[in-house]
Amino acid sequence: MAEEKKQKKIILRSENLGKEFNGVWVLKDINFDLREGEIHSLVGENGAGKSTFIKILSGVYKASEGNLYVEDNPVNFESVHESEEVGIRTVHQEINLVPYFNAYENIFIGSEEVKKVFNLRILDDVKMKKKSKNAIKELGIKFDVGRSAQFLSTACQKVIEIAKVLVQNPKIIIFDEPTTALGEEERDNLLEIIKELKSKGYSIIYITHNLEEVMNISDRITVFRDGNKIDTVTKDDILKMEDIIPMMLGHKSYENFCRNCEPVDDVDRLEISKLYTKRLKNISFQVKKGEIVGIAGIVGAGKTEIAKALFGLDNILGGKIKINGVSYIPSPKEAIMRGIALVPEERKTEGIVPNFSVTKNTTLTYLNKWTQSGVINKEHELSVTKEYISKFDIKTTGPRQPIKYLSGGNQQKVIVSRWLLGDFDIGIFDEPTKGIDIKAKEDIYILLDELASKGKSIIFLSSYLPELINICNRILVINNGRIVDEFDPRTLNAKNEIMTAMMEGYKNAE
């Protein structure tokens, strides 16, 4: 016992750590510790608090309460820089390289090595090259550090990101979903690299959605749910990954809103067969009138790509789509004409025009409805907007307020109103409740239910399982660009089975 303690000193520890935003506690009473030279995985659903926790560790957020210790010294990071000073570094999910810089220039970006020549500080390419080579060698990989990053594979780019961290001599490395966008073989290689780093004495916090990976590399696993730590278990405590799932989902009741599923009209309104795009493979499914079809998948599984393909924003490489039995070739214009609506995932970049008023945002898509020979009837659009403001209880100072001042949930309601004005037939909702408060979420659920009962066909894309289970007639699971399974949400064990399918690597592919 004493022996083990000696071996595995605690390098980072949090005590009752919590974080609130505007009175909402998104993280509460987190007691977490990281031992020297271990891989400690953090798992949990979207919104469980993992990224908030990581952001506190890396100095992006300040904790609202509780204490943090690094090697038994209390720390309170005011900035990312301060966190880096004590040796905490993060390998982020996204790859952020300058495409036309080569590997070593990227690795030393912002911390360039310099030498003095005639009293001038100039870049020391030789030194940077050598150090980069060593860092990459340490990772057990070999490639030409002089090549532009843009010509390297995603896997090599990821290695550069890791090398960028290594040359700073960190003690603690946080990996935030590092295997997203990697193929299977590359993923296995990366996991080996991370294990190698562990054996060299780095302490590692590993965040992932993929439970197979968790089982593969973790020494210990901590589960977060709804901003709380549920438990920390050692790898030996659990036998298979299915054991973690109930901890992630808990026994919380999802009955806040449960749809009363009426039998649907037995006509296929939308038929997709063997659809291929760059990211999608062999996608086939149908949506009936009055049906809500859920598509579940983790971030990066290909949900958004389905939405984009149907709306004509991604090139279609193969397959057929029919609406009401008539062939449909997607383009945004055609989509709107054929009655497809799309509420996009990224509200800020794809949804709102920030400086536009609530009114202008509401009427943007179907502007022609309020336009006569090119001239907008402003009173009419104003009164329609007012109608939707009160119908959806949109919190705003008025229809003329710029939409950027509204909260996320209220912005989302405006975007949804925009499409409702057009009386669409097929509604694609891509993560419509992402980042919005509970009340607004419920309003969206009620609305979707209402739309379906009026005979509209809904495709509901989400990575948050409980909401899908509550309101969908059927749930398809997408994984790595393929639909791998289909579930009836009302079967007894659907929840756990769907979660398993979402997280389960690529077992069912092909």
């Binding site: 945004p332 970049t349 794809e350 025009v353 920030p354 336009t371 925009r418």
Partner: protein, 324 residues
């Protein structure tokens, strides 16, 4: 109580943000009126309006491009090319109509090329329109080997009247300008076309997701810019009675100044029709007033540059204050 004070100060900031530039314009007007006895006269006022009429028309086209989030660097050189082509066609055919058609066609062709390069092929607007402007400049110089050419004695009367004539006391170019300004304000603020252009400038990605064909609309804005340049160039040619190798060179810098001034007015945060008119008035007034005060022309460039910087800084400061 405290809230009231905050509200009042917010209202004051908002007022200055909306009308600050307009008030600035009035102040410049008053200063010039005191500084130069010839400035505040009916005659000079008409002259001033006539001088700025061409700039206003060019800037109105530029406003459309900027509202959609673009930029057009070719307008100065294009003015020169159309000035030359109009004169050459008039010399050879003695037909005002043919010369006008030729001028407008060239404006539209260049606008189309700009729009296609930027919107459909995806080149950065600065580079594409700058390169097109360079080609246009070369063609202009090629046409007369860099020499000026002049209208014939028997040129049709209308060819000179467009730029030099009067309707009552009002110069014809001023009337054209007023009509064009009203049309610009109307299209930008009242039509679905204008709304969609602003949407594209405000968030191009969101506009695609809202079903707007942003390529088509962006190309339209360059066509409008080319057409506006053609109109202004025809008026300019008519005023000059000749094709001048250096004609229209100042339009680029001046139109950029106008468009940035425009976006500081009426709280829009974007270039807008009325703002463009006032902006052109400011730039025209500086050109005119400083000349009257015998300020050497190179100081006018310095003054204009400073005015633009001041306007942009002020609007940024007010925007920030309001969002706090």
């Amino acid at each position: 109580m405290q809230n009231d004070t905050i509200n009042k100060s917010r209202q004051r900031i908002e007022f200055v943000r909306r009308y600050g530039t307009v008030i600035g314009a009035l102040m410049i007007f008053i200063i010039f009126s005191f500084a130069s006895e010839n400035f505040f006269t009916a005659r000079n006022f008409m002259m001033l309006l006539r001088q700025l009429s061409m700039l206003t028309i060019v800037a109105m086209g530029f406003t459309f491009v900027m509202a959609a989030g673009g930029f057009d660097m070719s307008i100065g050189n294009l003015t020169g090319l159309i000035n030359m082509v109009f004169t050459i066609v008039l010399l050879n055919t003695n037909s005002f109509l043919l010369a006008t058609i030729a001028g407008i066609t060239i404006g539209l062709i260049v606008g189309f090329v700009n729009g296609t390069l930027v919107a459909y092929i995806g080149l950065p607007d600065f580079i594409a329109t700058f390169a097109v402007g360079s080609i246009v400049y070369g063609i202009k110089m090629l046409l007369t080997k860099g020499n000026p050419i002049f209208f014939r004695e028997d040129a049709p009367a209308i060819a000179k009247a467009i730029g030099q004539g009067y309707l009552g006391p009002i110069p014809l170019p001023v009337i054209f300008m007023l009509i064009y300004v009203l049309l610009g304000i109307f299209v930008l603020s009242k039509t679905s076309f204008g709304r969609r252009i602003y949407a594209i400038g405000g968030n191009a990605t969101a506009s695609i997701f809202a079903g707007i064909d942003i390529k088509k609309y962006r190309r339209y804005t360059f066509l409008i810019s080319g057409f506006s340049v053609a109109l202004a160039a025809i008026i300019l040619t008519s005023r000059l009675g000749s094709g001048q190798p250096l004609a229209g060179e100042d339009f680029l810098l001046d139109a950029i100044a106008v468009a940035f001034l425009s976006s500081t007015m009426f709280g829009e945060g974007e270039p807008n029709g009325a703002g463009t008119f006032v902006g052109a008035f400011i730039v025209g007034m500086l050109n005119n007033g400083l000349t009257m005060l015998n300020v050497p022309y190179y100081f006018q460039y310095i003054t204009k540059g400073l005015v633009v910087i001041l306007a942009v800084v002020l609007s940024a400061v007010f925007a920030k204050k309001l969002s706090e």
